[in-house]
Symmetry: C2
């Protein structure tokens, strides 16, 4: 510890230097504690994965090393960056000796305190994370697919070894939603978590609504803007939202839920006409991820959803994310921000590094555990969930059709909130829009199966769930 650095840190903290003539107010804790405040901790980080996010993290850590010293009293340096492609041009310049093509050079470097996993995917990311922990290193990851698939294995090993796994970047980019659920609302029994947690889908739905684009054109626009991958399936299928929801459910309810236990429906079936009809009824269509507790069970679902224009979520457009959390003490809270992109995600990754580093010391490792506590006993089957629905029937234009449809709905105890038979066009098939009151998914499925078999119904009925 250099004298200069100690004095300077003392200055930031607003306290006198160790050798100063004017010590702080007398205290029973005495000089021992006072000296501690002066120790500038040196933290060494190894990054695995040097893509968009890896490069943004490296850039943030390297270009603001001094700034981070001032803000946190920590000297954080990047000592290794590992990637398969070492010759590719990156938006950040790093010393050659930092780069390596070998993951082992990071995992087994005794100097490294924190391993940042930014490779994505399950293989070999899972083994990399587990081995980093076994080597006594803390881990920071943005990998939602990995955490939703193998979160229990990872967190349980970390807990057993008194190590931390930071994953603020795994949900909502730079939005500090993980911290909020894990720490901010620790006193709360969580009743509800829901929101827009996939920027790609939200961008596509926003463009379909604002510019009346067809799905495929909106998708192409998202790709052209870098908001969708070349293979966009994980985003538009709802899979990415599903991964994130399982992470939110772990924090909110203490349960490990595998992705396949979460009902997931993407946005590929949304047509511009449904967006227009919904708007006429006062609703926007958004891809929502929903976790709703009732007693000892919880609903977990991802699907396109009609939400009223007066609801704050309906104004969230483009690649923004927004998440509502309702706790029994804190009430309803909303978090809103950019849900993806290198810089916002790097903000979250660095925040994890700093939080972990602050709690590290040579003599004591204070791990911030993720606990498995089961605030709920079971995930409700989607068939047992009750929701309101928007239904669009493609019916032939003749009398008696509505009577048939409503007769079948009634048979399954589905009660109608409103009906709208859209103005006749040249076509002989007309859209009939029905908004229902709350009905059970199981009943709705059975009713639609029966209705779609009617000779007067010409296409599969469109069914979108309604919230709010």
């Amino acid at each position: 510890m250099a004298g200069r650095s100690a004095d300077w840190l003392a200055h930031l903290l607003g306290v006198q230097g160790v050798g100063g003539s004017n010590p702080p107010a007398p205290t029973s804790l005495g000089q021992k504690s006072i000296k501690k405040a002066y120790y500038m901790r040196k933290i060494k980080v190894g990054i695995i994965g040097f893509g968009t996010i890896g490069a943004a993290v490296a850039k943030a850590l390297m270009s603001r090393r001094q700034f981070l010293k001032e803000k946190s009293g920590l000297d954080i340096s990047v000592v290794k960056i590992c990637d398969k492609e070492l010759r590719k041009k990156r938006p950040v310049k790093v010393p050659r000796k930092v780069l390596t093509g070998s993951i082992s050079r990071v995992l087994y470097d005794p100097e490294i305190d924190i391993v940042v996993e930014l490779m994505g995917g399950l293989i070999p990311a899972k083994d990399v994370v587990l081995e980093a922990l076994r080597q006594g290193k803390h881990v920071v990851t943005a990998n939602k697919a990995l955490l939703s698939d193998s979160g229990s294995d990872i967190f349980k090993l970390a807990n057993a070894l008194d190590l931390c796994v930071g994953f603020e970047a795994s949900v909502g980019g730079g939005i500090p939603i993980i911290r909020a659920l894990k720490e901010g609302f620790v006193a709360d029994r969580i009743d509800l978590v829901y929101g827009i947690i996939n920027g790609t889908s939200n961008f596509i739905l926003s463009k379909m609504a604002e510019e009346k684009l067809a799905f495929k054109d909106a998708l192409a626009l998202a790709q052209a803007n870098g908001y969708a991958e070349r293979d966009p399936r994980l985003d538009i299928s709802g899979g990415d939202s599903c991964h994130k929801l399982s992470i939110l459910a772990l924090l909110g309810f203490g349960i490990a839920v595998k992705p396949d236990e979460i009902y997931t429906e993407g946005i590929t079936g949304i047509e511009p006409s449904d967006i227009q009809f919904a708007r006429e009824y006062g609703y926007a269509i958004k891809l929502l991820a929903i976790a709703k507790r009732s007693g000892r069970s919880v609903e977990l679902r991802v699907h396109p959803t009609l939400i009223p224009h007066k609801h704050l979520l309906s104004d969230v457009s483009g690649v923004y994310n927004a998440i509502f959390v309702k706790g029994d003490l804190v009430g309803e809270n909303l978090f809103y921000g950019r849900g993806a992109g290198g810089e916002p995600t790097s903000s979250a990754v660095v925040s994890d590094i700093v939080s972990i580093a602050k709690n590290m010391s040579d003599d004591y490792k204070s791990a911030d555990y993720v606990t498995f506590r089961k605030d709920v006993d079971r995930v409700k089957k989607i068939e047992d969930v009750s929701m309101k629905y928007y239904l669009r029937f493609s019916a032939v234009d003749k009398p008696g059709v509505l009577a048939k449809i409503s007769g079948i709905l009634a048979k399954y105890s589905i009660s109608i909130a409103s009906v709208n038979q859209v103005q006749r066009k040249a076509s002989s098939i007309v859209p009939v829009i029905i908004m229902t009151h709350e009905a059970r998914e199981r009943d709705m499925r059975a009713a639609l199966k029966e209705i779609d078999r009617l000779s007067v119904i010409k296409k599969k009925t469109v069914r979108i769930r309604v919230e709010g």
Copy 2:
């Protein structure tokens, strides 16, 4: 450490018991670390101030002691509650031996780890907090007036003694905004923090807008609902927002700003007619607290503000709070929730207790410092700030008035965005509404002084700033 509690904690953490036959994967850290995970830390809390918030905190800690054990691995107990009035009925039942009328019984109780100050005000709260720190105790407080007045003294002493001061509850009730600024956005250079941070004022303005109430009737309604104090001055004068803004500025920019360095204007001068005119122009009127950095200087101001209806803040009504934070990496984030009330505030207080307790141990105290680092050199004088304005002139109804007004505005380089001379009524005085482009406050003040001296102007001109 009882065996049962250790096993049960091991279960929550998902690891094997100490005596189990199946230890976790082999590791270089070995059994020493593994044993640590089993230690259920016992934390003793003393609460000073047993009002609405004190009672809510006591209730939360006592009624969910087991739940908090499961979520945090901490056994937190309330060992003392101090208040002047011990006989008053409270919404929570506490053992008689816990209650005390003497602050010393809390401050000098060697058993107590964390002192929760919920008395409010400066005297004796400041001495209580400083003495608690001198006694080696961590402090949690919801006292914004105290932190804005004496934050430097308090944080500097805490830093010197390696102790924590938790103050999540001081801004935005249960909204985890302090955590977000201090930890979540630690990597970011903060450009902008602004929002609605006084629920009382927002409730009053919302009622004036929605139900066309006069200020004094809306205030009476707020009081009847328990949303305003019997003496509402601190809230409606903007003083409370000013205190909170100084706390946000400390976290956002590392500077200690006294309340009197923040330009503060309350809502007492807002008339229903201005709310109506603003609405016709597409704006809502909200009391905003604004911290805006440009280079090495920062604007800090609290005043009623016109914000466009399309802006998310315009939809924030009633006692809700909402805060935007813009960081250079993370972009724009919004936090929204209940800004006051016993339960939301207790959620924040308990979250601070848990966070502090997690980082405590017998051999090491990891303090989470508030640093004084001066990301900016100075607070801009309000006179030097440029803003857009809404102006309402009370003019006599005769030709040439507008020419006179606009002539003076032009003289001070204030350019007009739009003019609206409201329809003539029976009265001979008509409102003339002018929206300006950006102009310097100094110029605006000089122009209005000159205009208000004109014989055709019959009342002091109403001037409200515009953002967004």
